[in-house]
């Protein structure tokens, strides 16, 4: 992908929608958004049997509004490898995410700790270690 893919709330609303229910700290939250794998597909990143070679050295560098960063490898997310379901969420309990939660955040329900469920997500950078 040469050109950055810019997605706003409207773009996300037109993509295949998904949801995740969490119960962190005993508070039930119904997050809605789009699976990261769908975002990657839209960005032209290969998946499944096509995810090979240099793509297996790839990761997503997630960056929040305040500069906070975490990574997910492409293989970790792909259903034929790690299959880690990560939601790019734009709404919770039927309302758009706001303030310290939004407008976009990640929800990684399989992670036992919340540190990669980045709030105030601003940028996803695809990095390939092997060129």
């Amino acid at each position: 992908m040469k050109q950055p893919l810019r997605l706003n709330a409207e773009d996300l609303s037109k993509m295949p929608r998904a949801s995740v229910d969490t119960r962190f700290d005993g508070v039930a939250v119904h997050y809605e958004g789009v699976w990261l794998t769908e975002v990657l597909k839209k960005a032209g990143v290969p998946s499944g049997v096509e995810l090979r070679g240099k793509w297996l050295t790839g990761y997503l560098l997630m960056e929040a509004e305040d500069g906070y960063q975490v990574i997910f490898t492409l293989a970790d997310l792909d259903p034929m490898f790690g299959g880690n379901p990560v939601l790019l969420a734009d709404a919770a309990n039927g309302k758009a995410l706001s303030g310290a939660e939004g407008p976009f955040r990640l929800v990684a329900p399989r992670d036992r700790r919340g540190a990669r469920s980045v709030r105030m997500l601003k940028k996803i950078e695809i990095v390939l270690l092997r060129k």
């Binding site: 005993g26 039930a28 939250v29 929040a64 500069g67 906070y68 706001s98 303030g99 310290a100």
Partner: protein, 371 residues
């Protein structure tokens, strides 16, 4: 509820005995939930010990006891002396003062949402059940708080004389031949304390009800600073919906209490040496519980020893990064906030005040009307 029981048994029961044990546990859970917590939608109730299920009458008995000065040796104090409803169940003092005038080494803690706390006090990792905890202020001598040491029978005799207790104790503890016991007093107190739940602040309306104008633009900016690990980073210790770190709730996972050294002192001397006092480990010197920040504008002075008078002073301490000592929490990093950011952060903290809590009759002094 019956669905929960069915799922539990279907998933795990292999023998009749185990099934029976699970049914008993489920029955206890049912009893525990025979109480209207009046929780915010989508919030789980707190976990309740199987041997002390909640009931409205038990909470009422606990409330009576909580506000009863017969629970101090010399009749001058009750639990409510140091845990005042109008101050979010703190006392406004740097150091709590016991019934005989002795100063407590630490500041009185808020009881708000204590039912969800994996640790109850500033620095005791072994205290996680409210009923036995009540023994410390009642009978403790280091320091003397309510000053009841050696007066167990005197206390129970006083309570037996009260017509309201003559009616309440047998109804709340019908299985006891003599319901007037110290253990039952502590269980009723625990049930009352467990019922004190605060989730009706403007911030709750903003965050959980989606009411956008429930808090100001400044408070919204402050919220972002609070929850940013790259900026103020307050949430690293005061995280979660209770702004106190991980919480325990009914059906939730086991949660370990967290204690932090914030570099307030170069060395924390006993008896204010944090959980080192209980573990004996030097690496635990100065590690204290991060108290809830709910209602924080009402609970000054701040820190375990009440040594900081204002929220501005607290921000100064955290911005400084604390003293350079080995035990200090890695979350303590010096940082700079602009005057605007400091003001925004304080605006955010102000939105955590639940004014309903301060006047809710469920938690007010029941004896007042009779006096």
């Amino acid at each position: 509820m019956s669905r929960t029981i069915h799922l539990l048994c279907g998933a795990t029961c292999r023998t009749g005995l185990r099934k029976f044990a699970l049914l008993l546990a489920a029955a206890a859970a049912l009893c525990a939930q025979d109480f209207d917590w009046r929780l915010r939608p989508r919030f789980a109730p707190p976990s309740v010990p199987a041997d002390n299920p909640m009931s409205a009458e038990k909470v009422e008995l606990g409330r009576r006891l909580f506000y009863d000065s017969r629970l101090s040796g010399n009749g001058t104090q009750s639990c409510a002396t140091c845990h005042r409803q109008e101050l979010a169940f703190t006392d406004g003092l740097a150091h709590a003062v016991g019934s005989t005038g002795q100063l407590h080494p630490r500041s009185s803690m808020s009881l708000v949402n204590i039912a969800y706390a994996p640790a109850l006090t500033w620095a005791d990792p072994n205290l996680s059940d409210l009923a036995p905890q009540a023994l410390a202020p009642m009978f403790g001598t280091d320091p003397v708080e309510l000053g009841l040491k050696g007066m167990e029978q005197t206390l129970l005799a006083r309570l037996r004389k009260e017509p309201i207790y003559q009616s309440l104790f047998p109804r709340v503890f019908p299985q006891s031949a003599d319901p007037f016991t110290v253990e039952n007093v502590t269980k009723a107190l625990a049930a009352f304390e467990r019922s004190i739940i605060s989730t009706r602040s403007p911030y709750d309306r903003y965050r959980y009800d989606g009411v956008e104008d429930a808090i100001s633009a400044a408070a919204k900016r402050g919220e972002k600073l609070f929850f940013s690990g790259e900026k103020a980073g307050c949430f690293q210790c005061h995280g979660g919906w209770n702004f106190s770190g991980p919480v325990r709730f009914a059906g939730g996972p086991a949660v370990e209490a967290e204690f932090h050294n914030t570099g307030l002192r170069a060395f924390y001397k006993a008896p204010n040496n944090g959980i080192e006092r209980h573990t004996g480990r030097p690496s635990d010197n100065g590690r204290f519980k991060a108290p809830t920040l709910r209602n924080i504008v009402l609970t000054a002075p701040y820190m375990h020893d009440g040594s900081i008078l204002t929220l501005e002073g607290v921000l100064d301490h955290y911005a400084s990064g604390g003293k350079a000592i080995p035990n200090k929490s890695p979350a303590m990093r010096s940082h700079k906030l602009t005057p605007q950011q400091r003001a925004d952060l304080i605006e955010f903290l102000k939105t955590l005040t639940d004014v309903e809590l301060l006047r809710d009759p469920r938690w007010s002094d029941p004896w007042k009307a009779q006096r």
